[in-house]
Amino acid sequence: MTDEDQDWLDALGGRPATGPNGAAINEAQRLREFIRRNVHAPGVAVPEQDARREAQLLERARHEGLIDPLRLAKRRRRRLTAIGGVAALAASVAGVTLALFLHGRPQTEHVRGTREHVVRIVAADPTALKMQILDELRAAGVRATGYDQLGVEGIDADLPEPVPPRVRDVLTRHHLSVPSNGVLRIEIAAPSKP
């Protein structure tokens, strides 16, 4: 996003836009005027009270274990255990990743190209590679976020400007170029089956 986009956003949100981009501000103000006049949530009539709807909600809450105090207590314990489990699993993954890294074992990964600033990588184990790149970026001081969308593992990271050598090292290790806009976006998928 450029300064122009920031001015556009401020004007669109009805905030005083103080930047020098008059055209972007005019554009956003006009767009705002028309959206306010023409775009509204559907005006469907919804009864305030609906016994069937409430019954469905309560059934769902019961199914989730939210109403019965005993099940609720169990659920809370399970959540705590799960959080502990995830922490332990994360520690294990980090350990294995570090061990692989230190032993220089090559990770089977192929950069398949870049489209719309998104680097696409094919790897045998996308989750493990995502965790590895995330760990390495974070260790290099980069703010990086991982996500999973329909079986594709992804990473978003804002790179510092200028990009420090240790971050460049991470990128080089994974055959990645420094993105021109400072935003590193990666999608990792498993190889397609023949």
């Binding site: 956003l9 669109l12 949100g13 009805g14 028309f34 959206i35 309560l58 998104v118 978003d156």
Partner: protein, 199 residues
């Protein structure tokens, strides 16, 4: 919310109250993005369950409805992302790319608003409604976020929270929102703006 924290039988009463107070507003918001009443109802109920699960994190520092709405909107964008049309909402397909890029370049020239007259405004409103409908169909996430920015003055940070993305990825998304608005509302842009003459 205090009933949610206390637990026990008070929860049933609290959930009913939640439903009676907020279902209508949330259902309309949900329907606007999902366009299917059954899916919209499902999302609202899903939101109520999340509200209950997260009630311990609500400290009353803001009003309840905006807090619940933010949870609903996050879920709504997530569902739209998962739907077939918007698996990768920031991208265009290869087949579309050259045409779209050319169109965006045309519309990215500096624009100046045309003066409004009463008759022209009616024509512009009509054109805007048609274009907006196309925008909502083609890029529902971008159209929704733009509408929310106008309605609630969302900031860059608030948009990032809704998307669950880093500041950089959020900036890119906002930039895409602007480009896609120009693309899908192109007909309206042409009527509503003139191009600045170059010397």
């Amino acid at each position: 919310m205090s009933a949610c924290r206390e637990g026990g039988v008070a929860i049933e009463r609290a959930l009913r109250q939640l439903d009676r107070s907020y279902f209508g507003a949330l259902f309309r918001e949900s329907l606007r993005g999902l366009r299917d009443p059954e899916s919209a109802r499902d999302l609202v109920q899903d939101t109520f369950i999340k509200v209950w699960l997260r009630c311990a994190t609500f400290h009353g520092e803001s009003e309840l409805l905006p807090w619940i709405k933010a949870i609903l909107r996050h879920g709504l964008l997530d569902r739209l992302r998962r739907s077939a049309g918007e698996v990768t909402p920031l991208e265009t397909t290869d087949a579309q790319a050259p045409e779209i890029q050319t169109r965006i370049a045309e519309l990215s020239e500096e624009l100046i608003p045309r003066p409004d007259t009463e008759a022209a405004r009616a024509q512009l409103d009509d054109c805007f409604q048609r274009c907006w409908q196309r925008f909502e169909t083609a890029s529902p996430s971008h159209a929704l976020v733009i509408a929310w920015i106008v309605e609630d003055g969302l900031t860059h940070e608030e948009i990032g929270e809704l998307l669950g993305r880093t500041p950089g990825a959020t900036r890119e998304f906002i930039s895409q929102c602007r480009k896609r608005a120009r693309l899908h509302l192109g007909e309206w842009y042409e009527l509503a703006f003139g191009r600045r003459e170059t010397a």
